[in-house]
C-alpha cells in the first residue's frame, strides 16, 4: 500500500511537470501566433490603405478632363465623326487571298534541269583531252 502511494506520488509529480511544460509550450505558441495574426492584420490594413490611395491616384490620372487636355496637346486625333461608326455585320466580305506565283528564276531553272552539264570555257576537262 505504501509502495503504491509512493509510485502514485512520483507519477503525479512527473505528470505535473509534463503538463506544466506542455501548457507552457502551448501558451508560447499561441502568443507567437497571436502576434503573427496581429502583425498580418496590420499589414492587411496597410496594404488596403495603399490600394485605396493608388486607386484614388489612378482615378485622378484617368479623369476624362485630364486625358482630353493631354490628347489635345500631344495627339493629332480628333473626335470620331458620326459617319465613322458602323456595325460589324455591315463590314464587306474579307477579300480573297491573292496567291503570288513563285518568282521565276531563269538561271536556276537551267541549273536544275536534268540535261545540264556544266561547261566552262577556260579549262578543258580531262576526258575531252584524251
Amino acid at each position: 500500500m505504501r509502495m503504491f502511494f509512493r509510485i502514485l506520488n512520483v507519477c503525479v509529480v512527473v505528470s505535473l511537470i509534463v503538463a506544466a511544460a506542455y501548457v507552457y509550450e502551448i501558451k508560447f505558441e499561441s502568443t507567437l501566433r497571436a502576434e503573427r495574426v496581429a502583425k498580418m492584420r496590420a499589414d492587411i490594413r496597410r496594404e488596403r490603405d495603399a490600394i485605396a490611395a493608388l486607386r484614388a491616384e489612378w482615378a485622378t490620372l484617368d479623369n476624362p478632363a485630364r486625358l482630353q487636355g493631354l490628347a489635345r496637346r500631344h495627339l493629332s486625333l480628333r473626335p470620331a465623326e458620326v459617319t465613322q461608326y458602323d456595325t460589324l455585320d455591315r463590314l464587306p466580305e474579307r477579300p480573297p487571298v491573292i496567291v503570288q506565283p513563285p518568282p521565276v528564276d531563269a538561271i536556276a531553272a537551267i541549273i536544275s534541269s536534268p540535261d545540264f552539264t556544266p561547261m566552262t570555257g577556260s579549262v578543258a576537262s580531262q576526258t575531252e583531252r584524251r
Binding site: 496581429a38 479623369n63 458620326v82
Partner: protein, 587 residues
Amino acid sequence: MSAMDTDATTVPAAPAAARAEPWRRRVLRTLLYGDVDRDAKARARVGLAILAFGAVYAIIAARLVMFAVAPESHFTRRGVARDAVATARPDILDRDGLILATDVRAPSLFAEPRKIIDVDEATELLTAVLPDLDATELRDRLGSRRGFVWLKREITPKQRQEIHRLGLPGVGFLAENKRVYPNSAEVSHLIGHVNIDNQGIAGMEKWVDGHGLQALHLAGLATDRLQKPIELAVDLRVQHALRDELIFAATKYKVKAAAGLVSDVNTGEIVAMVSLPDYDPNSPKQANDPQRINRLTTGVFELGSTFKALTIAMALDAGKITLNSAFDARVPLRYGRFSIHDYHAQRRVLSVPEIFTYSSNIGTARIALAMGVEHHKWFLRKMGQLDRLRTELPESAEPLVPKRWGELNTVTIAFGHGLSVAPLQAVEGINALVNGGLLIPPTFLKRTREDALKLAKQVIKPETSQKMRYLMRLNAEKGSARKADVEGYYVGGKTGTSEKVVNGRYSKTKVLNTFTAILPADKPRYQVMIMLDEPQALPETHGFTTSGWNAVPTAGRVIARIAPMLGIAPRFDLPVADQLILAKVRP
C-alpha cells in the same frame, strides 16, 4: 510516507514527552494557547489553509476561463479607438465602375494638454512646422486643462515626419479617413461633399449618410473600408462631355449660368447632370457661394415654350383635339388688358403641328382655354409639375404655383410663363410624354427597367406619346430645333425661350433658354436638356438670343459626342417623321 512512520512510533511516547516538559514552559503554553487539544487545532488550521488556497485557485481558474472566452478584447478595442475618428465611407462609383469618391488615410495631429511640459516651446516648434496654425490659438489650446484637443486635421506625411522628429511629449497622430474626389469639379453638384468629420453634407454623400451609414457609425462599425460601394446612374464620360460642351457654350455666349441634363427616358436614371458654375468638392468652401447652386434641382424657372409640349399633350390625350385641328392665330389673343403675341407670328389659322413648330403662344393658349382651368391644373399635377419633386439629392425646390389660378394663369402657363418649376421636374414630365406615357420618378442611382416599371405611373395614352414623338421630330425637321438634328441619331426636340422677370416686368433682352431633345425620336432612349441663362447675341447668331441660336446648337454638339458613348448606333437615310412615326399612329 515517512510522516506516517514517525507518527506510529511517536504517538505512544507523546504523554511521556509532555510530562518531560519543564513546568515553566507548560505554564507559559497554557497562558498563551489555553488548555485545548493541539491535534484538533492543527487539523482545523490545515483545513483553513486548504480552503484559502482552494479559493485562490478557483479565482485564478475562473479568470482564466474568462480570458479564454473573450480573447484579446482589450487589444481590439484599443485598435478601433485609434482609427475610428472619421467615418469610413463607401466608395461611390459611376455606372461603369469608375471612382467618383473614395477614402484615403491621412494623419491628423492632436495633443493631450495635461501631458505637455512646456507650452511655449511646443507652440514655437509646432508653428515652425505648420506655419498656417495661429500661434495664440494654439497656445490657448495647449494651455487648456482638457485631455484631448485637435491641433490640425489632415496633415501631409512630410509634416507628420517633421513633427515626429520634434519629439514633443503629449503630441500625437491619428490616422483618419479623408474623402477625395478624383474628378474634382466634374460631378460636383451630383455627388455633393463631406465635412471635416467625413459626414455627408450635400448631394449623394448626404443621401449615403441618411441610408444607414449614420447608424453604422454610431455603432462604431463604420471603420472598415470594405463597405459595399454605391453605384450611381451617372456615366462619367457622358458627364464630362456634357460639361465640356457647356463650358464651351458658356464662354461663347457669355452666359450667366448654364446647365445640362441627360436622362434615360425609360428608367428615369440621370446619366449626367451639370450646373455651371460648379465647385470642387475637394474644397467645399466654394459650395456656399449662392451663384454655384445646382440650378436643376434647387432653382425654379419659368421654362417657356417647353411647356407647350405639356399643353398640347394634355389636349391630345383628352381627345379634345387631333393633330388636324386648327386654331386661329391671325390676331393676338386679347385677355383682359393683356394681349398674347407670337414670336414667329404667322397671322393665319394654324394646325396643331404648326402651332408646335412655330411655337405659337396664341395657339397653345387657345388650346389650354378650350380644356378649361380645372383640367389644366389636374393634368399638370398628374404630370408632377405642381408638387415638390424629391429625389435622392437632399436639395429640392418647391415649384412656384399661382395661389389663385384663373383663366389668365392658364393662358400664360400654357406657354410656360407664370409657373416656375425645377428643370429636373420638367425633364420628368417630358420623359413621360415620349416614353409611352409613363411617369417615372427620376433617380441618381442605378435602376433597371423592371424596377422603373414598378414605380411607373401611366399618365397619358401610348398613342398620345407617339404623337408627341412625331411633333418633337417634326420640330427638328422643320421647326426651331433644326440645328440640333445631328445626322444619324434622328433627334427630336422642343425649344424654349422665356423672358426673365427684371424689376417685376418681363425683359426683352434677358432670356432664359432651354432646349429639350430626345433621341432617337422614333423610339426615344435618352433626353438631353440644355439650359442657358442670359446668353448674349453674337454676329454668328445674327443678333438673335432665342434658344434656336444657342441652346439648340449646344445640344447638337453634346448629342454628337455622347450618342456613341450611350451605345446609340447611327442610322442613315431614315424617312421623315410623317412616314416613320405618324404612320404607326394613324390606322
